[in-house]
């Protein structure tokens, strides 16, 4: 009898701890940050809008998220949608170029020797540096922004794909050799599926960077989107909207990462 009670108690205690960890603790953390924010804006940073003020001024943009009142006066989710569209374009280009380059890098010593150094040099270049070059190349802000996203978000896909290809177990390649699979079949039936979990980690990191870059790209080109809106509201002195944009960018980035995380997990257990 006592054993059962103990077991039940342990269970409910565990459930309690889980609830605490999943909901209560994050809420406490968020509450603390909001409190600090209020305190800051109430005391020494007078131009920093308080949480209540931010909510008040941002309200129309949140409660009517898809409203279009003018080119630069639209609901926050509508702006987000524009940004996502741009990100998807740049990210797709990044993957379409990055994955094959990664494969070449992983498979060919010659290719690796030739291109790995230049890749390592291009990789840390900031989006702020690529964007002017994109403007010079394409003359228009839209393709320049997409070019910048592609250039910056490509590298994790390239490097993780190369890593995945090099990590394909020799045993699998021996199976291909004994069965005399053609080079193409070895590539698509053995190497690609074996490298896919690594590649997916690269895709996930690439998407994170693509989203990071969008704000910079839109700020500099003034294109409508979350980043463009943020910069415009800074110039219009509506600082509440800057905070609205920051929070939106954070939430969307987190959402994208979770989405990729779920897909990645599925792939690993498959």
């Amino acid at each position: 009898m006592s054993k059962e009670t103990v077991a039940k108690d342990t269970f409910s205690k565990e459930a309690m701890e889980r609830w605490l960890a999943a909901i209560a603790l994050p809420l406490i953390g968020a509450g603390a940050v909001v409190a600090l924010w209020s305190l800051t804006s109430a005391t020494f940073a007078e131009s920093l809008p308080s949480p209540a003020k931010t909510w008040e001024v941002s309200r129309p943009y949140i409660v009517e998220p898809f409203e279009k009142r003018g080119e630069l006066d639209q609901g926050i989710l509508r702006f987000t949608w524009y940004s996502l569209e741009r990100v998807v374009k740049g990210y797709t280009i990044a993957i379409l170029i990055g994955a094959p380059v990664g494969f070449l890098l992983g498979m060919s010593k010659l290719f690796r020797g030739s291109f790995d150094p230049i890749i390592q040099i291009l990789r840390p270049v900031s989006p702020l540096a690529w964007l002017p070059l994109g403007l010079v190349l394409f003359q228009k802000p839209e393709p320049a922004g997409i070019f910048t996203i592609a250039m910056c978000s490509m590298w994790p896909t390239v490097l993780n794909t190369a890593l995945g290809v090099r990590a394909v177990p020799q045993d699998y390649l021996n199976v291909a050799r004994v069965l005399k699979l053609s080079r193409m079949k070895t590539l698509f039936k053995i190497m690609l599926p074996a490298a896919l979990p690594y590649m997916f980690t690269g895709f996930r990191l690439s998407l994170g960077i693509a989203w990071l870059v969008i704000v910079a790209a839109e700020m500099l080109t003034g294109a409508p989107g979350v980043g463009g809106f943020l910069w415009q509201e800074y110039n219009a002195l509506i600082y509440e909207h800057i905070i609205l944009c920051i929070l939106t960018i954070g939430f969307v980035g987190y959402g994208l990462d979770r989405l990729m995380g779920v897909a990645e997990k599925r792939l690993r257990t498959a």
Binding site: D171, N174, R177, V178, L179, K180, L181
Partner: protein
């Protein structure tokens, strides 16, 4: 020692192989006749896997040559199918698809129905019909090796090479699969070369046993023909004088190769009189 025959199916002539400064195999000669089951027994790390890789063509000898039906082996091929020590199943494919990958590759001329029937037959043969759609991660070690065996047999190789196929399994599973291999050896009529470190397994399966001496510079010892009639039954085997005689002889030979370096293998420079920190081979 091996009776020279007119046309051995697989033949090794003075084969030696080194990796870096380690001289693994030394002057190995062996003729394998079509339809016989040859089991090579040796210590772990003696170079058994290297030997089977050379026969398969995954690796090339430094000197000497390996020939298959008279022509030199330069690359692996499905006519000399290898059953890998660690199964080497592709983890993203189901048991069925692992077999299908091999069958589709080796019999591209067959109709889809014929290939499917063929695949089903071998999945059934190893008793995995109920688990055909499972991924390797959802299979036990013994089941995985049975899939690997089905994959190898389904390609209908002329020589079936097996690299310690059962060494990673627990004793009971191992015994069950040994009985399965005994049945395959008896009924398939295939030429089989199997390497193992288990002398009992060797006697159960072999037409002849050839010991591989302890490495480095491992070489083949005198062969032991096994004339115990098939089917061989594990429990009956234990009672047979021939079984016990061969078992003792093989083990004695193997141990004798391990005691100290043989004259041929004596190092050219006398070793320093310091305690060796290297683990025993």
């Amino acid at each position: 020692m091996t009776t020279p025959s007119l046309r051995p199916i697989l033949s090794l002539r003075g084969v030696s192989k080194s990796y870096g400064t380690t001289h693994v195999l030394d002057d190995i000669s062996l003729d394998i006749e079509a339809g016989e089951v040859v089991v090579i027994v040796g210590f772990s790390g003696a170079g058994k896997s290297t030997l089977i890789s050379l026969m398969c063509g995954l690796d090339q000898p430094d000197s000497g040559e390996v020939t298959f039906k008279g022509s030199k082996v330069t690359e692996p091929g499905p006519e000399r199918m290898l059953v890998f020590q660690n199964y080497s199943l592709l983890p993203w494919l189901s048991a069925l698809d692992n077999v299908a990958l091999a069958v589709d590759q080796v019999f591209p001329g067959w109709s889809k129905e014929k290939r499917q029937t063929h695949i089903d037959r071998f999945i059934n043969m190893v008793g995995l019909d109920h688990a055909r759609d499972r991924k390797p991660a959802q299979l036990s070690g013994g089941m995985r090796q049975r899939v690997a065996l089905a994959r190898a047999l389904a390609t209908d190789p002329e020589v079936l090479l097996m690299d310690e196929p059962l060494s990673a399994l627990d004793a009971l599973t191992r015994a069950t699969l040994q009985d399965g291999l005994e049945r395959i050896a008896r009924t398939s009529g295939k030429t089989i070369v199997l390497v193992t470190n288990d002398v009992d397994e060797a006697i159960l399966l072999a037409d002849r046993i050839i010991p591989l001496s302890a490495g480095p510079r491992a070489t083949l010892g005198p062969e032991f023909p096994i004339t115990i009639p098939r089917p061989r039954e594990r429990r009956a085997l234990n009672q047979m004088p021939e079984f016990r005689h061969v078992r003792t002889a093989v083990v004695d030979y193997l141990l004798s190769t391990k005691r100290g370096p043989r004259p041929a293998a004596a190092p050219a420079i006398a070793p320093l009189a310091v305690p060796s920190l290297e683990p025993a081979p």
